[in-house]
């Protein structure tokens, strides 16, 4: 009997214990999704639209009064410098068409697959209302606490075609400046192009670049300037132009054909040296210069943005300049 009693007691305790313990369930522990092998796009389509709207709003605010103050929140780098210069000019001449029209509607978006900073977002805009070619906008987030700012824009050159890129939902992997697997690494593309600009066809790298309108125009402008000065001042005037890729301003993305889209900032400096006589400037140049005549020297600083399509390694294709912008941001002289 005693064993039975004991058994009964044990059973009772067991039932009660079960009832009581059932009231306290285990605490859940976090089970996050695994970290993806390739980071997800840093921005989704909605966020990109929001960023572009903000940039558009900042531009609109600045454009309204040719006032660069509202731009700082959403513009940086060559874009800020260029726009500020454009405001100066267009304010002076009261001609809004002197400003580059920058639509923020998109045709193509390249969203970066990255977890790190800085991050760059590239947008090919719709065609502007003035029927110029679409722009390639590059927006950069410097660090985790910064907003995306329009770093630079470039106009698509005629007869060029954007290399195929992944959808913004899939995102595009950013490339390091020394990325391999390309005909030329992104970093070298820019330095070599600067060399080609400086030396023309005599550059050792000239053969690897397809001819482009931008290079032709730069050369033509330089030639025309030189010709005009020589006509007026003879040997007293000397003109030189240099091209320097800007450090740290290089954004590269892989394309679906294995190549790369390379966006770089470059500074073009045009130096004018006079050993006699003087040169008179008008309109936009005068606005930037602050005066109309110089008698010894003048330096024109251009902020350039160049966009290349770089073929993959082993390709017989040439590096193609897709888009470029060349905005005079400063003129000094005396």
């Amino acid at each position: 009997m005693s064993t039975r009693r004991r058994l009964t007691a044990a059973a009772l305790i067991g039932v009660l214990g079960l009832l009581l313990t059932s009231c306290a369930a285990d605490l859940p522990i976090p089970h996050p999704d695994p970290e993806p092998a390739v980071p997800r796009p840093a921005l989704d389509v909605q966020e990109i639209s929001a960023v572009l709207r903000s940039v558009g709003a900042a531009l609109k605010a600045g454009d309204a009064k040719n006032n660069p103050a509202p731009l700082a929140a959403r513009l940086s780098g060559p874009a800020l410098a260029s726009r500020t210069a454009e405001y100066l000019v267009s304010a002076k001449s009261a001609d809004p068409s002197l400003r580059t029209e920058l639509p923020v509607g998109t045709q193509t978006v390249i969203a970066p697959d990255t977890n790190t900073w800085p991050r760059a977002l590239v947008v090919v805009t719709e065609q502007p209302q003035n029927l110029q070619t679409p722009r390639i906008l590059t927006l950069v987030q410097d660090d985790a606490r910064s907003p995306y700012r329009l770093w630079g824009w470039a106009r698509l050159l005629p007869d060029t075609r954007m290399p195929p890129t992944a959808t913004p939902a899939a995102g595009t992997v950013p490339l390091a400046p020394n990325a391999t697997g390309l005909l030329v690494s992104p970093k070298d593309v820019v330095t070599r192009y600067a060399d080609v600009l400086a030396k023309g066809d005599s550059s050792t790298f000239a053969a690897s670049f397809a001819p482009d309108v931008f290079r032709k125009q730069l050369a033509a402008t330089l030639a025309a300037t030189t010709k005009g000065l020589v006509q007026g001042l003879g040997s007293a005037a000397k003109v030189a132009e240099t091209y320097h890729p800007r450090a740290g301003e290089l954004y590269s993305f892989s394309t679906l054909d294995g190549g790369a889209l390379v966006i770089a900032g470059m500074t073009t400096t045009t130096s004018l040296t006079l050993s006699g006589g003087k040169v008179e400037f008008q309109n936009d140049v005068a606005a930037l210069l602050g005066t109309t005549t110089v008698s010894s020297s003048a330096t024109f600083v251009w902020s350039d943005v160049v966009v290349f399509s770089v073929p993959p390694k082993g390709s017989s294709a040439k590096i193609q300049l897709l888009a470029a912008e060349h905005v005079r941001t400063a003129i000094t002289g005396k």
Binding site: M1, R4, R5, L12, V15, L16, L19, S22, C23, A25, L27, P28, I29, P30, H31, P32, D33, E35, P39, R40, A42, L43, D44, E47, A50, V51, S54, N115, T116, W117, P118, Q141, D142, D143, A144, R145, S146, P147, Y148, G248
Partner: protein
């Protein structure tokens, strides 16, 4: 002793289990919302969550952050973006639940105000970027201006945000913004569908216990009131005083009302007087057998002592030495019941009962019971003679005789031992 209280105890236990089951589904039912709070202390102004915390309990979460006296911003973004933003400040990271009402945290690396705020992942950030983040790393930095958040909310003193989980690794960032910003308090609330897993099992188990207990209890009472009926049940014989004719041996005897005419007036009276004639209506054999089995096993659980105490045997207890009969001997009385009916009707309506004994009894009813000589001498000691070793026939006969005596108001006699009679019954059933 334990057996005597078994029915009551079982009933009570059944009630208790049912009550516990109901309580588990009502009183003790967990809240349908899980609120978990953390009130971090420290110099920072940012609280973030680790990936996976937002959908810890349920996919839908309501987030509330409060910091009296300052503006509060809540934002949800990719875990790397949130961590990158928070890296610029001293922050606290919520890693999970420490209880159902508290969030577990760990302190992020302390960032002295104005110190270099290099984002964890932003090692490649340019010098200018670092310089810029330095200028905004103070407690005044407002996460609301960032482009990285999927959703955000802001407000004075407090902010609330709802979020439905989606694929990916998401974190929430709560920051109090202002010169004297303090650590915001973060509260996460999830709807928590609470099941009642114990309700049905507990009610089923408790109900079963309750039924068993009540059954035992009523059997106990019934055995005390009318042991004959119980015994009739136990042996599986629907017995009663139904049929008067010896032809009752015919299987599938006609229902009681067809027999009405054959009943004597006394029999009718008897039937009316006692509910024991319920079984007059023939119980289907299978049911009777089931009942017999049930009652037998139930009786095995019941204390034999109860019966001794509580059974007012139909016979007036003559001043005989009966009370002094040793307990085991008296315990046989239940088994002696089959024929101790008010009127020992010779014919069981359903003679096909598993136990052939009653059939035999019916056949013999005409003759006086062979044991009748025991009648005047009720002493117990005689009974053991009819015990186990004795062949069943004679045992059954003595039982019948006893029943007969009781039925006629004579003092009952104890015959055989408990074991012996039970054996008889069991064997009879076994056949």
């Amino acid at each position: 002793m334990l057996r005597r209280f078994l029915p009551a105890a079982t009933t009570l236990l059944g009630l208790l289990v049912v009550a516990l089951g109901i309580a588990s589904a009502t009183l003790w039912k967990a809240s349908s919302t899980v609120h978990a709070v953390v009130t971090p202390t420290g110099g920072g102004n940012v609280v973030i969550t680790a990936p996976g915390v937002l959908d810890l309990v349920a996919p839908d979460v309501t987030i509330r952050a409060s910091a009296p006296g300052s503006r509060v911003v809540l934002a949800i973004g990719r875990d790397t973006d949130v961590a990158g933003w928070a890296a610029g400040s001293s922050f606290v990271r919520v890693t999970g639940l420490s209880s159902w009402t508290r969030l577990a945290t760990e302190a992020g690396p302390t960032v002295a105000a104005g110190a270099s705020a290099s984002p964890t992942a932003g090692a490649s950030a340019s010098a200018t970027a670092t310089a810029r983040s330095q200028s905004t790393s103070a407690a005044t930095a407002d996460p609301a201006v960032s482009d990285n958040w999927l959703v955000q909310a802001g407000g004075d003193n407090a902010a609330t945000l709802t979020w439905s989980n989606r694929p990916g690794r998401w974190s929430v960032l709560a920051a109090s913004v202002g010169d004297e910003a303090t650590m915001p308090e973060l509260e996460l609330s999830w709807p928590h569908p609470v099941g009642t897993p114990w309700l049905v099992p507990a009610i089923a188990l408790g109900g079963a216990l309750l039924v068993a207990g009540l059954g035992l209890l009523s059997l106990q009472v019934l055995r005390a009131r009318s042991p004959q009926l119980v015994e009739a049940w136990r042996t599986g014989v629907p017995v009663p005083a139904g049929a008067a004719t010896p032809s009752g041996g015919v299987p599938d005897a006609a229902p009681a009302h067809t027999e009405q005419g054959t009943l004597t007036r006394r029999q009718l009276r008897e039937r009316e007087r006692s509910h024991q004639d319920v079984p007059v209506v023939a119980t289907p054999e299978r049911l009777a057998r089931l009942r017999a089995r049930l009652v037998t096993s139930a009786l095995a659980l019941l204390s034999p002592a109860t019966q001794r105490v509580g059974t007012p045997t139909p016979s007036p207890r003559v001043a005989t030495p009966t009370p002094s009969v040793p307990a085991p001997g008296r315990a046989t009385s239940p088994s002696s019941q089959p024929s101790s009916l008010p009127f020992p009707g010779p014919a069981a309506p359903r003679p096909a009962a598993p136990a052939p004994a009653p059939v035999a009894a019916a056949a013999r009813w005409g003759a006086p019971p062979p044991d009748s000589q025991l009648l005047p001498v009720p002493p117990a000691p005689v009974a053991p003679v009819a015990g186990a070793p004795v062949e069943h026939q004679s045992t059954a006969a003595s039982i019948r005789a006893d029943a007969w005596r009781r039925a006629w108001g004579f003092p009952g006699i104890a015959s055989g031992t408990d074991n012996a009679t039970e054996d008889t019954a069991d064997q009879g059933e076994g056949r």
